[in-house]
């Protein structure tokens, strides 16, 4: 399903349609994430991917233009590059622990403390919240700062300017 949507996105030239497909893609992704027990992530993906991103993209498209220009893109080189990258990952993933292997290092190292002690140490039963906000709270501070950076950056870029800036370009 996701594959089909993505293929449709590649071929679709009407950008509005692409954005809508992107929303569908995000919902599918969220479904997969729920199936993988990542409820927090799924919720975020649904609200961000299908909600905020779509709104932003539509807003931006309104300001720009809905159609992608028709011209033969260079197909070969990008395809080679992306497939090469994919192959590198295939090569790497062959050596990884199998799906749902409880003895894989990620399940035996570091994480057990999060699961076993989250109630005792932080009083928060949702381990995702306790890791996010406390054990690795500093990452979340960084994350908030990233959002802040983006916000301030958009303010800086889109604020109305009084001085004409084209003098240099004309």
């Amino acid at each position: 399903m996701m594959a089909i949507v993505v293929l449709a996105m590649i071929n679709q030239r009407n950008l509005f349609a692409v954005v809508v497909l992107g929303g569908i893609y995000s919902f599918l992704m969220a479904t997969v994430l729920v199936a993988l027990d990542a409820v927090d992530v799924a919720m975020t993906e649904a609200s961000v991917g299908a909600g905020i991103s779509t709104v932003l993209l539509l807003g931006a498209l309104y300001l720009t233009r809905g159609e992608e220009a028709k011209h033969a893109p260079r197909r070969l080189i990008p395809l080679v590059v992306s497939i090469a990258v994919g192959l590198a990952l295939v090569y790497g993933s062959l050596g990884l622990p199998a799906f749902s292997d409880p003895k894989a290092p990620i399940h035996t190292h570091v994480v057990p403390r999060y699961l076993n002690d989250t109630l005792k140490e932080t009083g928060v039963p949702n381990a995702v919240t306790s890791v996010l906000a406390s054990y690795r709270g500093y990452d979340t501070l960084g994350e908030t700062t990233v959002v802040f950076t983006a916000g301030a950056g958009v303010i800086a870029l889109l604020r109305r300017r009084r001085r004409v800036r084209e003098e240099d370009d004309k």
Binding site: M2, A3, V6, M9, I10, L15, Y25, S26, M29, D37, A38, V41, T44, E45, V48, G49, S53, L56, L57, G59, L63, T64, R65, E68, A69, H71, P73, R74, R75, I77, V81, S82, V85, L89, S93, L94, A98, F99, S100, A104, I106, H107, V111, Y114, L115, P125, N126, A127, V128, V131, R136, D139, E143, V146, A150, G151, G153, L157, L158, D169
Partner: protein
């Protein structure tokens, strides 16, 4: 190490190739950003899927459950999603400005305009 056990990796890899392809091959600035988004989401699966334990539940500690899926990748990916949307917002803001300055959001037209400008100087 059967094929099926690595199924999630294959999905990841397909999404990644598709996203990267859109970014490199397409000339439309907005579409490039969308491709970038797909490329980033492919990473989510790479992290999340191995964290799943069959028979486990979401990592919310409660009575009656013994096995939980791994919470750490979830946290990392939450951060990655946020970073992704922040990048998207910023990228779109730049695209809007480019559109105002050049009147187009096609990469080749922009480059052509730049070239013309340089020849004039």
């Amino acid at each position: 190490m059967s094929l099926a056990s690595h199924y999630s990796y294959w999905v990841t890899i397909f999404l990644m190739i598709a996203g990267l392809y859109i970014v490199i091959a397409r000339g439309n600035l907005v579409k490039k950003l969308i491709g970038l988004g797909i490329f980033q989401t492919s990473v989510y699966l790479l992290y999340i899927a191995p964290g799943k334990l069959i028979g486990g539940t979401a990592p919310i500690v409660a009575e009656g459950f013994r096995t939980y899926s791994n919470p750490l990748p979830h946290v990392l990916i939450l951060t990655a999603i946020v970073v992704g949307v922040a990048t998207l917002a910023l990228g779109l803001a730049i695209v809007v400005r480019i559109r105002e300055a050049y009147g187009t959001i096609e990469e080749d037209e922009i480059l052509a305009q730049d070239r013309r400008e340089e020849e004039q100087v």
